[in-house]
């Protein structure tokens, strides 16, 4: 009789995968937070009714700033950090 063998992941690899998942979620979660805020409070988005608005009202829109910070973090920080985390774990194996 044959049985399928399931190899248990070593605890360290599982922890590393969880860390990578957590880091990769920070940016998108922040972007989502900004977008959800914009949907819940559209009056905070001057871009939806730009006519007659001053420079600062058009540049500094809190929900967009949150989404922008999340996107910046995901692209500039999280992406290379995930590559480094993978390289570090590969070297430790």
């Amino acid at each position: 009789m044959e049985t399928s063998l399931v190899r248990e992941l070593p605890a360290e690899r599982a922890a590393s995968a969880a860390r990578a998942r957590a880091v990769s979620l920070i940016g998108p979660a922040t972007v989502a937070g900004g977008l959800i805020w914009g949907i819940l409070q559209p009056d905070r988005l001057t871009i939806l009714h730009p006519r007659g608005q001053g420079f600062w009202w058009l540049v500094l829109e809190p929900p967009l700033l949150v989404a922008l910070v999340g996107a910046l973090f995901a692209l500039v920080v999280a992406k290379p950090l995930l590559a480094d985390l993978e390289a570090h774990d590969a070297a430790a194996r």
Partner: protein, 194 residues
Amino acid sequence: MQPRAEMVHWGFAAGILFVGLCLLAEAIVGQEVWRMRPWRKYLWPGVAFGMGVLLWPVMAFFTNSSIHMYAHGSWAEVLMLAGGAELGLVHGRLRSPLWRLTWPLAYAVTGLAFIIHEQNAWFFARSAFLHHLLGWTFAVGGVVPLLLVWRPRSAVLQAGMAVTIVAVAVMLFADRDVAPVFGHLSPLAGPPHR
């Protein structure tokens, strides 16, 4: 052409949120991985130092009262001190971990300045409420960077500091010049704008 005070708060909130996210990522992956690329170790201390520098023009141009000027000036000083000390530590120029005491100092000064310079009660308006809340958040949250001086590699404390910073950013994003808080707005605060 000068932005409203609330807009300046939102701009700083964006910078503070970025620092909070970096701290959170560092807490998750650990210092060893975080510092694998040389530029990354200078990232959040550099942003913190830069925000300290940018607080000087805020102090100079938003002088609606002396006490505001002192508050913004003291934040500029302690943020530059703590950010600069952190830069020195990660670069290796500074060696004593006691330099990290600049962070609890920054929290304490910031908290006190928030609480002292807000002269209205909690439910006067949203900005008053947030000033009190921010002040107490910094005053109580200062325990975390203080403990980090002795346990610098504690992931729990690092995450605690990151969450505190993110919470501060959320509070600053919620700030409005004149707006109600939980339905309360003193008639003395003036008419709310959109």
